[in-house]
């Protein structure tokens, strides 16, 4: 199992992640976002797969993140498209909490992995 500091990046204190708020951060120059649904924190790419739009400007409803531009929806748990117009899934990143801090994997979860 990878340690929290090599393959994961520290983002923010878990306690600061409010329900349904979307927080943008950068990893290696790429935009990512994280959000909380209930007790769980999710992280995904920060740009919609349909057209360029920053998902931090979008919304969360249930377990879906919605693009602010055209309303494409992606399941935060799998990255699967839940509403058009996107047709390409959104990369999802594993999250873990260590000492109250949110760590997000540098690399996306493999497609099809639960």
């Amino acid at each position: 199992m990878p340690g929290p500091t090599d393959d994961y990046v520290r983002v923010m204190p878990a306690a600061d992640v409010a329900e349904e708020e979307i927080y943008a951060f950068e990893v290696d120059g790429e935009l990512r976002v994280l959000t909380r649904v209930g007790d769980e924190i999710f992280a995904c790419d920060g740009i919609c797969t349909h057209e360029y739009a920053e998902l931090s400007e979008g919304e969360i409803e249930d377990h879906v993140i919605y693009c602010p531009l055209h309303g494409s929806g992606f399941d935060l748990r799998t990255g699967a498209v839940t509403s058009l117009p996107a047709v390409t899934p959104l990369p999802i990143y594993d999250v873990k909490i260590v000492d109250g801090e949110v760590y997000v994997s540098r690399t996306p979860r493999d497609e099809g992995e639960a």
């Binding site: 349909h50 057209e51 919304e59 919605y66 602010p68 531009l69 055209h70 058009l84 117009p85």
Partner: protein, 412 residues
Amino acid sequence: MSRRPAYVILGAGVAGHFAADALRQAGFDGQVLLIGAEPVRPYDRPALSKGILQGTKEPQAIIFQPEAFYREREIDLVLGRAAVEIDPAARRVVLDSGKSVSYDRLLIATGAAPIRPRLPGIDLPGVHVLRSLADAEALRAGLLAAERVLVIGAGFVGSEVAASARTLGRDVTLLDLLPAPMSRALGPELAAVYAELHRAHGVDLRMGRGVVELRGRDRVEEAVLDDGTLLACDLVVLGVGVRPAVDLAMAAGLDVDDGILVDEHCATNASGVYAAGDVATWWHPTLGRRIRVEHFDNAGEQGAAAGRAMAGQPEPYAPVPSFWTDQYDTTLQYYGYPVPWDQVVLRGDAAAFSVTAFYLAEGRIVAAAMLNRPKEHRSARRLVAAGAAVDPAVLADPDTDLRALSRQFAAG
């Protein structure tokens, strides 16, 4: 001896693509034939009037899926071919190649074609329509060479083309018989905001005006307006609406009223024949009436619904219709039913092009349009889905927390 059933989809546009995909996702393992008149694989049609015209997107980038996607799913793509006859009794379609194709189930997803008004000079070179990728590439080439562009019709396509032409730096006149851009769909209040937006970007708006003639020697050079004004132009775009492609269906004896009539499972009156997308006039079970919708979201979702119904997993298709339009640096998202409203409530700052419009019928929200207000999309959608009755003053109040308000109503 059993033969694999063959399901044929006529029209490889948005509805056709998502129908084929849904057939496989629903587990149908017979033959799937996706037949399209255009010579390209299914693509993201809304990008034509924006990214393709402006040159910010290459045609290849708007194609939904690579060839392998269809190959892996055993979806046989037949491109560059249109049907010339549908024979529901014999369960076959005849293609323009002369080939006859038998089907066990058929989906008609032939979309719609741009209306070309009967106008003197309409066939002059330099007069464009915009529906297909080929149309868009021809129009882009024309726009790059043009100086003065006249867009006839300020609906969604006309307004987006006008914005793209301005973005390319062309002189643009946008003309419509209606009082403001997209006023039929958006209502006068929000349409007025779009009139300001186009003016602010330097478009010469001629609202409440028609064109009676196009003139030119070898190509279009000027338009004669209905008040006698002569307008110089070297490129004209017709954006006066589309007509659903129902001719084959009518000849085949299918019930047609505007579009091909289908029930909430996308089924026509002919056994084994379905229709979806722009071409279908469908029974909306929640609304209790028939509607036809000419937008991407419906084409994709209804195509998928038709695919599932054909595969034996019918579910009533009863969405809150939605669409978007992008013009200049603005985006508008619309959720709602195409039904009459009697009151429009604006929320936000119209002068800053940041405004949400709620459409009410007898005190209930039937639609909402969000111009540059992305954080209000889902709340507005919930209010529309619930048919919420909300005090207009509360809706307009900038201090109202729409998210909290919308959650008081059972979401649909």
